[in-house]
């Protein structure tokens, strides 16, 4: 391994710092204030100094550390656990996480719900982008279909929470199919742009169709109930209040606790389903199609059905996440479904490693919990996501966690 000379590294670092200084000079150093400006010359200098140091450190590291690591794209591995062990372990984990509800405040429950919703969204998009390799930039559209499906379904048809979950999955899945159909022939970047267009169309229609969706004012979504128990102080949907049935004192966190428990179970089931799908013929077809479409079609794989099923699967998961979002917020409006949301979920999938289920969960938890833990981090959150997306694409295109493919041993061998 050859070390690059330090003097050259120094020179390159100075050059990088100079470019940074020029680029950040006007934007960071001169802050617009009406038609006038105020100066803040320290900011570009600080940024340039940071770049200088980072570039210098990067230059001193051995070159092989910084080279893209993608030699072992997929490592085969035998399944480590039997099904009953997985089910038992899952139950224990569920109970452990569920018991957090007893200690958590309403605030942390709300944070937990949002984190789980992003886990769900990440798992859904991971099916489309990670498994099938179809870059979907309009994923938030399906999330919106689920959320609005619940809110509007209640308003117009009187649908409840429990009916809304499967119906939203179905509806979003159908949307996924409908939107997937015209883009079958496309791949790569054209597909990305078309899905982006679809996502934006859904949002704009929700925003402008005042008579049906309430436009920018949004729609109220009802609070979920459980067999007629309601988790609010006063009964609004003709049930009985939960706290009276059980003789408890009312607390405003009960609703969140309930949603958290249901959502946790849904995430668990989705996780199980998605990881099983990977080993099934359809999951393998998705991954094969991602790697080489022409080869797959030559081998007689039905690419139409394979792509549509990936779109539908991902969209249904997104739709379910939407129902939980609407239920936990009690209100939906088009602002929640901007392109930024799609980019965020994409960042989760990319950071977690395209195709890696557990990586996606970790990334979703990291990206949603981090801003809560570190307040200073919150402002720079998007900036950090952006840098992370670029760096990971360059350095580890397969994500931080390398994916492993399960394989099955033949009995007796």
């Amino acid at each position: 391994m050859s070390r690059r000379p330090v003097s050259r590294t120094m020179l390159l670092s100075l050059f990088a710092a100079l470019i940074t200084l020029i680029l950040t000079g006007p934007l960071s150093g001169l802050v617009l204030n009406g038609y006038d400006f105020t100066t803040r010359f320290a900011a570009p200098l600080q940024i340039a100094a940071m770049v200088l140091i980072l570039r210098f450190i990067a230059g001193l590291l051995p070159a092989s550390w910084l080279a893209p690591k993608q030699k072992h794209e997929v490592e085969p591995r035998a399944p480590r656990f039997k099904t009953y062990q997985l089910v038992l372990g899952g139950l224990v984990l569920y109970l452990a996480l569920a018991s957090l509800v007893l200690f958590a405040s309403k605030y942390w429950l709300a944070v937990g719900i949002m984190a789980l919703i992003y886990v769900l969204l990440g798992l859904g998009l991971n099916v489309v982008v990670g498994f099938a390799g179809l870059l979907d930039l309009g994923f938030v559209g399906f999330y919106a279909v689920g959320a609005y499906g619940y809110a509007l379904g209640h308003q117009y048809l009187g649908l409840g929470f429990w009916a809304a979950i499967p119906l939203a999955a179905l509806l979003a899945g159908m949307f996924g199919m409908i939107l997937g159909f015209p883009v079958l022939r496309m791949h790569g970047d054209y597909l990305a742009i078309v899905t982006l267009g679809f996502g934006e169309i859904i949002r704009l229609v929700l925003n402008n169709w005042m008579a049906f969706t309430g436009g920018p004012n949004g729609v109220d979504a009802p609070a979920p109930t459980f067999f007629g128990w309601e988790f609010k102080a006063n009964v609004t949907q003709g049930g009985v209040p939960f706290h009276e049935v059980w003789g408890l004192e009312y607390s405003s966190g009960m609703l969140d606790a309930f949603i958290f428990l249901v959502l946790l179970a849904v995430v668990g089931l989705t996780l199980y389903a998605v990881s099983r799908l990977r080993g099934m013929p359809i999951g393998r077809a998705w991954e094969a199609l991602r790697e080489d479409e022409i080869a797959c079609r030559s081998l007689g794989l039905n690419h139409v059905w394979t792509k549509l099923s990936a779109f539908a699967m991902g969209a249904s998961i997104g739709g379910v996440a939407g129902v939980f979002f609407a239920a936990s917020q009690g209100f939906v409006s088009p602002i929640s479904f901007s392109f930024f949301e799609s980019a965020l979920v994409l960042a989760i999938v990319v950071l977690g490693g395209l195709g890696s289920v557990y990586g996606v969960i970790l990334a979703a938890l990291f990206l949603t919990l981090m801003p809560e833990v570190l307040r200073e981090f919150a402002d720079y959150r998007i900036l950090i996501f952006g840098f992370a997306m670029v760096l990971i694409m360059i350095w580890r295109p397969r994500g931080i966690i390398q994916q492993r493919r399960p394989f099955f041993k033949r009995a007796g061998s």
């Binding site: 934007l27 802050v31 870059l135 704009l204 980019a343 900036l383």
Partner: protein, 305 residues
Amino acid sequence: MDFYVLGQQIVNGLVLGSTYGLIAVGYTMVYGIIGMINFAHGEVYMVSAYLTAIGLAVLAYFGISNPWLLIGLTMVFAIVFTSLLGVTIERLAYRPLRRANRLAPLISAIGVSLILQNYVQLSQGAKNQGVPTLVEGVFRMGSEDHFFQITYMQMVIIIVAILAMAILNFVVQHTALGRACRATQQDRQMAQILGIDTDKVIALVFGIGAALAAVAGVLITLNYGSFDFFVGFVTGVKAFTAAVLGGIGSLPGAMLGGILLGLAESLFAGFVSSDYKDVFAFALLVGILIFRPSGLLGKPTVEKV
């Protein structure tokens, strides 16, 4: 149909369309040369809008008040800075991914656009910004209460856009640089064998694209007067629509697509519904990509194994 309303919408459409065309050039040249959608291009335009306001503020601070001088100097400042930004983005976020799979540069580009958006928001604040009106006066046709008009600023936009396109066309068709660009676009490996530094050419193309986005940014900002850190996204997608409509990879196509899209959008806004004009633009994009992905002037692509 009212003739004057129609005339007004056509004027607005031409103005809008010529700016779309300028931005579309950046998409189409980059796509032509390395086959990637530079998703961050819209944000480069957004940065140039901020640079316009900053440039004007600084020049005003030094006491310059001649509007033409202001516009000219601001444009030079924005062009120089923005092309440097474009080249830097290419060097850092796209060049290392030249050999990666097709999704990687696109995701990296989304990362870059998040960075630019958030960086501008953090450094300049989230509020709406504005610039003063520099060029006043309108040219009217028709009677007192029944007319259509074209402001002098709109005339400036159309003239500058035509000028910029003419210069670009000259550079691409008649200079050594342009020849290198075209050669790299046709066959990068062969161009490299013949001694063309293709990395430099690609960086140059990013620079040119960003420079034209800066021209558009200055013009649009001066015309509308207000902007925020979020303007890059919608304008970027629309300019991309224009590039696709004209046939991605084709320079005259970008301009033609821009003008057609601008006209279609402003006629739709004027006669159908202005609430749904963005829906219309997005639907047009989706429709073209589905039914005629090669656009009006583009060549159909054949996938080879």
